[in-house]
């Protein structure tokens, strides 16, 4: 059987391109990976990601050129099952888990993945946001029973030492999304954690955050999440993750991570102001989750899915183009009158999990 080969160049957007290739079963070749760079080729975290994708699939062939500037991936089937992976310290576990979340529902066996490394940094979604914000987004598409992310140990950069376990059920097909009413914010939740520093730092962040939030609604719970001893990883650090949930289950989130020389109060205020900025932007899905939601809309059953969101990020724009390359699906994006938000709609491909064991 002849396989389609899709070509790309450059190291950008590697993760979603690999995900699209694995979902469609199309071969993918990426050239010119940092070929002009002083230090050419794939980075350690990218190689680690390829190894992780190799683990979660069965029969995937990955060829990396000697210089590391080009790769060829021939995807196998998404297998799943119990897996373990050590993430390098150059990226947090969010970098690795984000693409896995897009693949896991379509595995042959439910995924039970243990990831070790850094649980919170300011590049990728932290373990807390993944658990409290990203996973609820999957429920919109009918992925819910047994979906869980357990934070067993926390690991702050640079040394990490955290551990999370991701459990994901398999589905036959995704539900069509129709998410156009943003509703009103009805509650705010937050998690403050501090590891290998004064445990009072959590409370100081919470107090600072409350000084702004208390004016809006009474339903605010900000938890101080305590991890001690071995569970608190190898490096000191603290962070405040916040989420605002609306009457229609829209979740907006924000997070601020400890920085050297900045007081916990300022971290708390930073997270809070970011949350207000997010709430003010509105829409049903925030910028961090655009690609995830659009991906699952494409995979949805053969009906028109709709979602109200803000302007696409540069990442999202490239993602939409790559989706068209792999699936042939394009979105209709129209401005909603009277606000800066857009309505994204597409006809689902009716993607069926063919890997699923029958009965």
């Amino acid at each position: 059987m002849a396989h389609t080969l899709v070509n790309f160049s450059g190291h950008q957007h590697l993760r979603h391109r690999l995900v699209l290739a694995i979902l469609t079963g199309k071969h993918i070749r990426i050239d010119k990976i940092r070929s002009e760079d002083k230090n050419p080729g794939l980075r350690d975290f990218e190689i680690s990601l390829l190894r992780l994708l190799e683990k979660i699939t069965n029969g995937t062939i990955i060829e990396i050129s000697v210089t590391g500037t080009s790769i060829l991936l021939k995807p196998g089937i998404i297998f799943g099952g119990a897996l373990q992976h050590d993430c390098p310290k150059s990226r947090s576990i969010g970098y690795f888990l984000e693409p896995i979340i897009m693949l896991a529902p379509f595995a042959k066996r439910p995924v039970q993945l243990t990831l070790k490394g850094i649980t919170t940094d300011d590049h990728d979604l932290s373990a807390d946001l993944l658990r409290t914000v990203t996973l609820p987004h999957l429920q919109l598409f009918g992925i819910s029973n047994g979906l869980e992310l357990r934070i067993k140990k926390r690991g702050a950069p640079p040394e990490g030492g955290g551990e999370v376990q991701f459990l994901c059920p398999i589905v036959k097909q995704l539900k069509t999304l129709n998410f156009v009413d943003p509703g009103k914010v009805k509650r705010i939740r937050g998690i403050a954690h501090a590891v290998r520093v004064n445990p009072q730092f959590s409370n100081r962040m919470i107090e600072a955050s409350r000084s702004i939030l208390n004016r809006y609604i009474p339903d605010i719970y900000l938890y101080s999440d305590v991890y001690k001893g071995d569970e608190s990883g190898k490096s000191p650090g603290y962070a405040l993750s916040l989420l605002a949930e609306s009457t229609t289950s829209v979740i907006h989130c924000a997070e601020a991570v400890s920085e050297p020389g900045v007081a916990p109060e300022d971290i708390g205020l930073k997270a809070t102001r970011q949350l207000l900025a997010e709430v003010n932007k509105g829409g049903c899905v925030d910028r961090k989750h655009q690609t995830l939601v659009l991906m699952f809309m494409v995979l949805g059953s053969e009906d028109v899915g709709r979602c109200r969101m803000g302007e696409p990020t540069p990442r999202t724009i490239q993602f939409l183009r790559d989706v068209q390359t792999f699936f042939g699906t394009s979105f209709k994006i129209v401005a909603l009158p009277g606000c800066s938000q857009l309505l994204y709609s597409c006809y689902g491909t009716g993607y069926v999990n063919a890997n699923r064991t029958l009965a």
Partner: protein
């Protein structure tokens, strides 16, 4: 604050479907609306994007651009929220905030 309102008004007029699928503009060019305001937008665009890393305009392919899901935070954007009026202005987005019309009228 002025910048963001002018941007959102522009978003209104943009034909996103066409820009994304039928042009060769880079994602950054689409966001920054380079097509229409080539020159004058250039400087501003750089300001918008360089919070975390500098993007070389001519060779964005070569710049080390991290594949990451968190957008860099704009300190200006956060500063706005120190203002009491700004804080009050989003009250209608909360369940306790009453109607939009009543709030804005």
């Amino acid at each position: 604050a002025q910048k963001s309102t002018s941007l959102s008004r522009k978003a209104w007029l943009k034909d996103w479907t066409k820009l994304i699928y039928s042009t060769n503009l880079t994602p950054e060019e689409i966001i920054g609306d380079k097509r229409e305001e080539d020159q004058e937008e250039d400087d501003k665009m750089e300001m918008d994007e360089d919070d975390f890393f500098k993007i070389k305009k001519t060779s964005s392919d070569n710049a080390e651009e991290l594949d990451m899901s968190n957008d860099p935070v704009d300190p200006e954007e956060l500063k706005k929220w120190e203002d009491e009026d700004m804080l009050e202005s989003i009250r209608h987005l909360f369940i306790t905030g009453g109607d939009v019309d009543a709030e804005q009228g």
